[in-house]
Symmetry: C2
Subunit: 418 residues, 2 copies
């Protein structure tokens, strides 16, 4: 599919993240607008509440867009999702007869503040990147036991905290936690010293389920995707995670990019999962090309210094797709709801430069990386700004994700001070 041209000129630049082919969904505000639904087109945001009010988008008998979340649109289901996308393309395509009516409803992105694009119902984080699991397993259990016995058979995951999910741009406060150094007999309560990022993608569940669903049904339930940084306190995790998994180590914050890129926009970039040693059980089998070819990168900028790209990888490195993760999530009958967020797991590639966490990049702190600024990093330092970037490269256009950024602030001196 080539670039679809828009009368919003900025959207037609070949490297712009938000061409007409994309049309991602976000929640924005300006001094003149309370937070409401908007659609990115080039450098502008289409005010969807205003477009609906003006009768330009008329998909339901009640307002869908004058709210600070996309959950109501999700609730409506895939037919409405398709109708909405078709109508937006009509309105914004080159030569649209609605151009003059729509133009006043565009808000410059530069003057808008982005908010959480949806209400997170529950948050699950998976561990389905094979290179990541192999790297971490090798560090902690040795090369021969790197992958747990179940790993190639099910998308391993754990439930996270929906309350800790924040939108890109939110500062992250280094947490305190109970830690035990190998050279101490007893644990202590201290600020985390091994605070890290995890480069992931998030899939947003747009339809509810009540019982097990197939992989194809799960795919239909997914509304769209965001970039996701699952901030992780490695030292808190090391002490707490046996036997019930990560808990406070992953509860400080998880950042997501502000624009939900729809499944429809990503459709041309479908690609197969990697080759498998073991055939998956029927209920988890691929039902077509299940992944997407999405280039991903991580930039790190020390306080007051320029950013360096410290990792480049691709979403096609995943071993299990979001649809397979979601299908597995329902096997027990677990009800899934509109607004559930599924983290992919850290996405690392085969090479050292493709590792999606500092834990892997610095090999547990044993091989600190050196930035062009001369700074070295084993884990994150106070003042570091992390930015995840991603796009699918089409023929003369890109499907871009908004950046997912966050700055690490120092731990509070006294976490209980009021």
């Amino acid at each position: 599919m080539p670039l679809m041209k828009s009368w919003v000129e900025s959207a037609n630049a070949p490297d712009h993240p938000f061409p007409l082919n994309n049309l991602p969904y976000g929640v924005f505000s300006t001094p003149a607008h309370d937070p409401r639904c908007g659609v990115a087109i080039g450098d502008m945001i289409l005010d969807m509440a205003a477009a609906e009010e003006a009768g330009l988008v008329d998909l339901a008998d009640y307002p869908l867009f004058d709210v600070p979340f996309w959950n109501e649109v999700m609730e409506e289901g895939p037919e409405l999702w398709a109708a909405l996308r078709a109508r937006l393309i009509e309105l914004l395509a080159e030569g649209s007869p609605d151009c003059t009516a729509v133009e006043p409803l565009l808000v410059p992105m530069a003057g808008a503040e982005m908010h959480m694009p949806f209400l997170v119902s529950e948050y699950t984080d998976f561990y389905s990147g094979r290179h990541h699991a192999t790297n971490v397993g090798t560090m902690f259990r040795g090369q021969e036991n790197a992958l747990p016995p179940n790993w190639l058979h099910i998308p391993i995951g754990y439930n996270g905290r929906a309350s800790s999910v924040v939108v890109s741009g939110t500062d992250i406060r280094r947490p305190w936690g109970q830690l035990k150094s190998p050279d101490h007999d007893k644990p202590a309560f201290l600020p985390s010293r091994r605070f890290d990022l995890e480069l992931e993608m998030g899939a947003i569940v747009g339809q509810a389920s009540d019982g097990p669903v197939t992989v194809a049904e799960a795919n239909d339930m997914i509304f769209g995707y965001v970039l996701l940084n699952d901030w992780s306190a490695r030292d808190i995790q090391a002490w707490e995670y046996q036997p019930l998994g990560p808990f406070q180590a992953k509860a400080t914050a998880t950042s997501i990019s502000p624009w939900i890129v729809t499944k429809a926009a990503l459709e041309p970039f479908r690609t197969d999962t990697p080759a498998r040693e073991f055939e998956l059980l029927d209920h988890l089998k691929d039902c077509g090309p299940m992944l997407y070819d999405i280039d991903l990168a991580v930039d790190l900028a020390p306080e007051g210094k320029p950013a360096t790209t410290i990792a480049r990888t691709n979403y096609r490195e995943m071993y299990f797709s979001a649809a397979q993760q979601l299908a597995h999530h329902t096997t027990s009958g677990c009800p899934m709801n509109v607004g559930d967020l599924l983290g992919s797991g850290t996405i690392s590639g085969a090479t050292k430069e493709a590792r999606g966490s500092l834990l892997e990049l610095s090999w547990g702190g044993k091989e600190p990386i050196t930035l062009p600024t001369g700074d070295t990093r084993s884990f994150l330092e106070d003042g570091d700004t992390l930015t995840l970037r991603g796009h699918a490269q089409g023929d003369g256009y890109r499907i871009g994700f908004g950046d997912c950024t966050g700055k690490l602030l120092p731990a509070p001196k006294d976490p209980y001070a009021r």
Copy 2:
């Protein structure tokens, strides 16, 4: 404290679960009433929406009770919680001048259906029963490594699925899942064969937090308590739980009793946590008697047969209190919200008869228990009805919890049939 007498005669029987001292909060419906807030008094439910409408309860400028959840009352905070309890005692005490006005607003409990008493925001399940953790650890890792190294220092917990929490009386469907028998090379997708109960108590978080809270602050945030059965598929868990903890094994359902017993009603039953080998770190230290003396029991009734009590224990067996669990939950800065539910962990006592799960009672299936009906049980069988019961025994009165019951239905023949 002695029995406080009510003009609702049934409430004054010494073994009644719902005397004036208790006044637990639930959500009920009848053919004449949509689900709404109610308070249990003896064999009756006070219709709180009607009481508010009649001006008998006037605590806010907007209606608090004509909704099918207690979250709005929780939001209001501890001062309103105290004022509400004081007003209810005034209205329902023997000799109350409001007796004639209130009497028509009482609905017989026998004709009411109970619903979820609150909207569960997120659900966390802890593992803070020492005898349970020791029993399970001994079975899986041997007596010497029974307790993980962190266990005596932090209340170990994991995030569960809020979407799977159901009210007492809801049937439970035996789940399918990916399992691997020790005698097979590969996993298979089958109905769980080792489906179990877990006797727990649930603490309901009634105030939000934004940053770490002390144990005393955490105690103030708790609104009340319910009985909780964390249904568990042991065979699914055995295959999935390394390295990130239980996931689908715990996602079929968690049942709670329908009445929220308030912290105020339980205050006379405060008791100390057990002796500790290791002093807790300051941020987790007890700040007074942190547990409650609450007798707990589990009844099992095979299909069409009478129930047998298979376990008797007490909430004072916990090693960490709900307030300590909640304080730990916030250490990383994890935001807690109104309606968060914290499971205590399985509550077992020191003796064999005090074990709060069939895993422990049958010692992993090696020592099936025999019921007076002649039936034996290693794990639950289809058609079994499980009932958790609990009360605090006062001087001539009881603070009762409503029963927490659920019947296990057979697994669907084809979980993907529509």
